[in-house]
């Protein structure tokens, strides 16, 4: 069975390469569907496959940049990427991440970094899950009220409407973002991305998990455009991260290339599935993904508190892998169903003509 293992030239470890392809496929599907980099699942995955942690993070960055680029290309063709909005947010993100890293250094000096990061992560994930499900429930109530009045709710109507209030604050320069169809102060996306970048810097994550809901609920992007625009930002920040880690000598390019082969297929499945799933469908599954992430984080924190209970760590890994597999399968099924229906409709149309 030696042929199933591949020697890595830089880190010197021998890796089960089909595992890399499966991991790439899974993160490609989920990343393309939600607009995430997926570091929260790939880094522990690479570590489990045998990479030292430093190489796991650097290699994840490299595959994330390539995979997000593939997804951005596809979303761009659908018109789901607002490049100007993405670029505006990139300014805030880059400064925010540096500010977050600076905060971590300060917290390290007073010995409070672990405690703060742990609680911030918990609060953030709980708040995000609440936000998603509260929004869905508000929209349902609005739809019911509209139905009672004998009207139908607008296709683009949302539950929570914080974004429209934030967009009304017109501090110059006021910009129109064409693809997102939003007119707001340029400071709105910059300030929001500064905070999401700052949080990402403190938590040591890519930030897509925070930025996608921020684009939807605070900037006011339609869900599909939020997914595409976030991926554009993930691709750019991933490229910078790749350079940074490669310069420190912590990227295993061969593993990233193998993962990209799986991710290229996964990204197509994930992105094309967004064509067949409505915005609130994406939001609901995203809420479930956040809950899955929260459960895994809590289990890991419990293990850190009770180090003799090794099964907690194993349960966290099984839970993440189970959740990722279930969500990937759901997305793939949606894509296949949608594509089948579209092809059947085309066939019928051709037969009718």
């Amino acid at each position: 069975m030696d042929w199933l293992f591949m020697a890595m030239p830089i880190s010197g470890v021998s890796i089960f390469w089909p595992g890399l392809i499966i991991l790439g496929l899974g993160v490609g599907i989920i990343g393309g569907f939600f607009g995430l980099g997926g570091a929260w699942m790939v880094t522990p995955g690479l570590n489990i496959l045998g990479f030292p942690m430093a190489f796991a993070i650097g290699t994840d960055m490299a595959q994330m940049a390539g995979k997000s680029l593939i997804s951005t290309m596809r979303h761009g063709k659908f018109g789901n990427v607002d490049y100007v909005l993405g670029l505006t947010m990139l300014i805030g993100t880059l400064i925010g991440v540096d500010a977050g890293v600076w905060c971590v250094m300060q917290l390290e000096k007073i010995g409070r970094v672990d405690e703060v990061v742990r609680y911030l992560y918990d609060v953030l994930l709980i708040a995000m899950a609440w936000l998603v499900f509260h929004d869905i429930s508000v929209r349902k109530k609005k739809a019911a009220a509209a139905a009672q009045a004998g009207k139908a709710l607008d296709k683009g109507a949302t539950g929570i409407e914080w974004a429209s209030k934030l967009q009304a604050i017109k501090i110059p320069p006021v910009v129109y973002f064409r693809h997102a169809n939003i007119t707001c102060s340029a400071w709105l996306p910059i300030v929001i991305s500064f905070f999401t970048g700052w949080m990402a810097g403190i938590l040591g994550i890519g930030g897509g998990l925070i930025r996608m809901p921020a684009l939807v609920y605070l900037v006011g992007c339609p869900t599909h455009v939020a997914v595409g625009t976030d991926l554009f930002e993930v691709a750019i920040s991933g490229l910078y991260g790749t350079f940074s880690y490669a310069y420190q000598g912590r990227v295993e390019l061969l593993a990233a290339i193998v993962m990209l082969c799986g991710a290229a297929i996964g990204a197509q499945i994930g992105v094309v599935a967004t064509k067949y799933v409505k915005g609130y469908g994406i939001r609901f599954v995203f809420g479930l993904a956040v809950l899955g992430c929260l459960m895994s984080v809590v289990l890991k924190q419990l293990q850190a508190k009770f180090p003799d209970q090794g099964w907690l760590g194993t349960l966290a890994t099984i839970e993440v892998l189970g959740f990722v597999s279930a969500i990937s399968i759901y997305i793939a099924v949606q894509m296949v169903r949608g594509a089948k229906a579209e092809l059947a409709a085309k066939k019928n149309q051709a037969a009718g003509n």
């Binding site: 290309m73 490669a246 310069y247 609130y280």
Partner: protein, 93 residues
């Protein structure tokens, strides 16, 4: 994506890269073991050992090029299947 967006993106990323190089590497020297390697893998590991900067630049060039090539190949396959890859209905529910 127009030329100005490309240029602005490149300027932002390049600026951060220069800052990374200027701030230096960690004080730990890492080397790859090339003794049992041949061909392209040996060349790759030797480049890593000689200069992390060259290694980083080449890595950063390979990733987007490979991403574009794989994206383009996937495009061909999806078009062959017959799925419309240019239109979608932007609806929330």
């Amino acid at each position: 994506m127009n030329i100005w967006t490309w240029l602005a993106t490149a300027a932002l990323v390049f600026g951060k890269m220069v800052l990374t190089v200027y701030s230096g590497t960690a004080g730990v020297a890492m080397v790859a073991d090339t003794r049992n390697m041949h061909g392209i893998l040996q060349w790759w590991a030797e480049m890593y050992n000689e200069s992390h900067l060259t290694f980083a630049i080449v890595t950063m060039l390979i990733i987007p090029i490979l991403g574009c090539v794989l994206g383009w190949l996937a495009d061909i396959v999806m078009n062959h299947i017959g799925i419309d890859l240019t239109h979608r209905d932007l609806a929330e529910d």
